[in-house]
Symmetry: C2
Subunit: 180 residues, 2 copies
Amino acid sequence: MTAGPDFHATIPEGDDRERDVCRTCGFVNYVNPKIVVGAVVTHDGRFLLARRAIEPRRGFWTIPAGFMEEGESVAEGAAREAREEACADIAIDALLAVYSIPRISQVQMIHRAALARPEFAAGPESLEVRLFAWDEIPWDEIAFPSVHWALHHWRAVEGQAAFPPFVNPPGQDGRAPLPY
Amino acid sequence: MTAGPDFHATIPEGDDRERDVCRTCGFVNYVNPKIVVGAVVTHDGRFLLARRAIEPRRGFWTIPAGFMEEGESVAEGAAREAREEACADIAIDALLAVYSIPRISQVQMIHRAALARPEFAAGPESLEVRLFAWDEIPWDEIAFPSVHWALHHWRAVEGQAAFPPFVNPPGQDGRAPLPY
């Protein structure tokens, strides 16, 4: 074990804002917004949700979504997350929404998809995975505001082949408490 | 000065892939794809381009675009880049394209915008900023393939109020040489 980095905030040469620089090794920790890729996945009119086995919001339901990795496209990342969290192969047909969550410096790119095969199971980060009819969705046990947004945005363009992606609902910057 | 970080590749506990970990301080350098935010900006039917004062591709022309920073939305980032690189206030009206460039782990989110005021100037990262009619654009001196894509995608939806964002042109993953 080592003691861990010893960051202090300073403006690196040629930069215009403070960054965290390690006093021990000089590493400049450029922090950029992170991309979350995910999908509202349906099958026969029902919605695929996974109950989280990990924090934050363990035990709550979410759409398959997670951090985009290097070396993949946005759509490839969303398909990977569905495989990892729900053991599901998905067919993406549209970019449903781009949500900006400045408080936690995330950009969430949520797609519209269908199950490519009618098979799924809980991956290591999920307690269970289920298909819910709209009226069965456990609205009080949804993990994150953006999951609410994405499900409702899916409904708003149901049956439409092409549409511009949604952004955050008016007044919702990801900072406010759940409006439900 | 310090010697800089001494990274080696190893799989951190609880992770599923190799990350760079500093032998000196133990810092885990999670590397995620970076978001580039930008805009095709027009005024009276002409296109705002900036000639780059910095590497890579110094001296070549680009649309205003750069790395998204923390604490801003995607659209706020695109507007900030137009201010920084072209001293321009822009009004964004659509997300034009989302390009994935896995080779360099970038996601480029390019908007459609107009000048909010008919004023612009070279910022510190630009040698000059100009408005070009379509036929005057210096096609042989464009900085990056995605600038070509964005300009042509702008033309493909000219006059359309709402449309799904474009992705990379077929066969173009950002790895190939310029197809022009």
